[in-house]
């Protein structure tokens, strides 16, 4: 039974990989930068997206794909922002996959976009295994979750292009050692950018906006 499951899993990941490449080709054709945003439940992905839209619009044309097990709570929060939003609900599921993103791309105005933000399902484990065709991966880790997260959930941090440590506004009330967290991340991923931010107050987000703009510029230049 064990071996059978592993084989199936490889088949799934192989098929997902092909679809992911096709998604990326499609995004490249339209010059769209896609960023896969992953975190534990409630680490602040939607707040990060709200801050990002608020800062980059209207110069940057943004769309959002919202992945959730249930509800459209996050999509409702984003609805007022005047951007295209695709809500994907996955009852019983624990991650987005490339097939879901393909379906979402079919329903987005690709000619009119520069940036696609993909909010993955709140889960610090499974989403890291599934390539969606994104160009970059942003991991959010919130300070109240504790400074041991990179040690306990290594894959997510190993595959990140940028790590945002959120809820900096709560730091005075927490036993969170920034140096211990950063050491854990850097051990897995020596060159990754680590930013301390508060998606609630906006503190520390300027380098994130600059990073996104630089990635988009780099993409258009190619």
């Amino acid at each position: 039974m064990e071996i059978k499951v592993l084989t199936i899993k490889e088949d799934i990941l192989g098929a997902n990989e092909k679809k992911a490449r096709s998604n990326q080709d499609r995004l490249d054709k339209y010059g769209i930068l896609a960023v896969n945003i992953m975190s534990s439940p409630g680490a602040g992905k939607t707040s990060l997206i709200l801050q990002t839209i608020g800062k980059l619009k209207p110069e940057t044309r943004v769309a959002v794909i919202e992945g959730d097990v249930a509800s459209q709570v996050d999509a409702d929060r984003l609805h007022q922002q005047g951007v295209s939003i695709i809500q994907i609900n996955i009852p019983g599921g624990c991650h987005l996959d490339a097939n879901m993103i393909e379906n979402a791309l079919d329903n987005l105005p690709l000619k009119e976009l520069d940036l696609l933000l993909i909010e993955n399902v709140g889960n610090l484990i499974c989403p890291a295994e599934f390539d969606l065709g994104e160009h970059k991966r942003a991991i959010l880790s919130s300070m109240p979750e504790g400074d041991d997260k990179p040690y306990k959930y290594p894959l997510m941090f190993t595959e990140a292009d940028v790590v945002l440590v959120n809820k900096l506004d709560l730091l005075p009330h927490l036993d969170f050692q920034v140096s211990h967290f950063c050491e854990g991340v850097t051990r897995l991923n020596p060159t990754v950018k680590i930013l301390q931010v508060s998606c609630k107050t906006g503190e520390g987000l300027e380098p994130w906006f600059s990073w996104l703009l630089a990635q988009m510029k780099d993409k258009k230049a190619r």
Copy 2:
């Protein structure tokens, strides 16, 4: 492919269910109460277990099974408590299953135990699908994660026997509506006990200890 995967998933869950029943029979034979503790990463499972051991020892003989993707950070925190601890690491895995618990039971002094606390992998989705043979399920949800969690991750809350809302000490600094959270839980699970607690300060934990003691008493009486 889709149908094939679903079949395999049913096979896995079916095999897991059989093993879970066998685990529960074994625990019953020794009069041990087993509680499966589940939450998002960093919601406070280990702190809850530390508080519980501190309160119930030595009258109650406790053992702990620690489930993690990687590291033994949590087991190290528990090591000073003088209880039996089994660390289970699951690289690439996202939940404990009944087979892992069977292996752990093989390595615990069952004759000398009253209470088995199982700390599942930090994940608000996948662990809810896997019966371990436990008698009760305790769900921890931490206030900084937000009051929308029951709406977005319903299965976990539907299957809970008790819901502990942790990090009450941070409430003054958060936009967390206790009534909105409780309404979401009660809609899924009308009779579940909901407790507001701080596993850091110990506030609000007395009803949790009383509930555990009542479950153990009830078990011994059967």
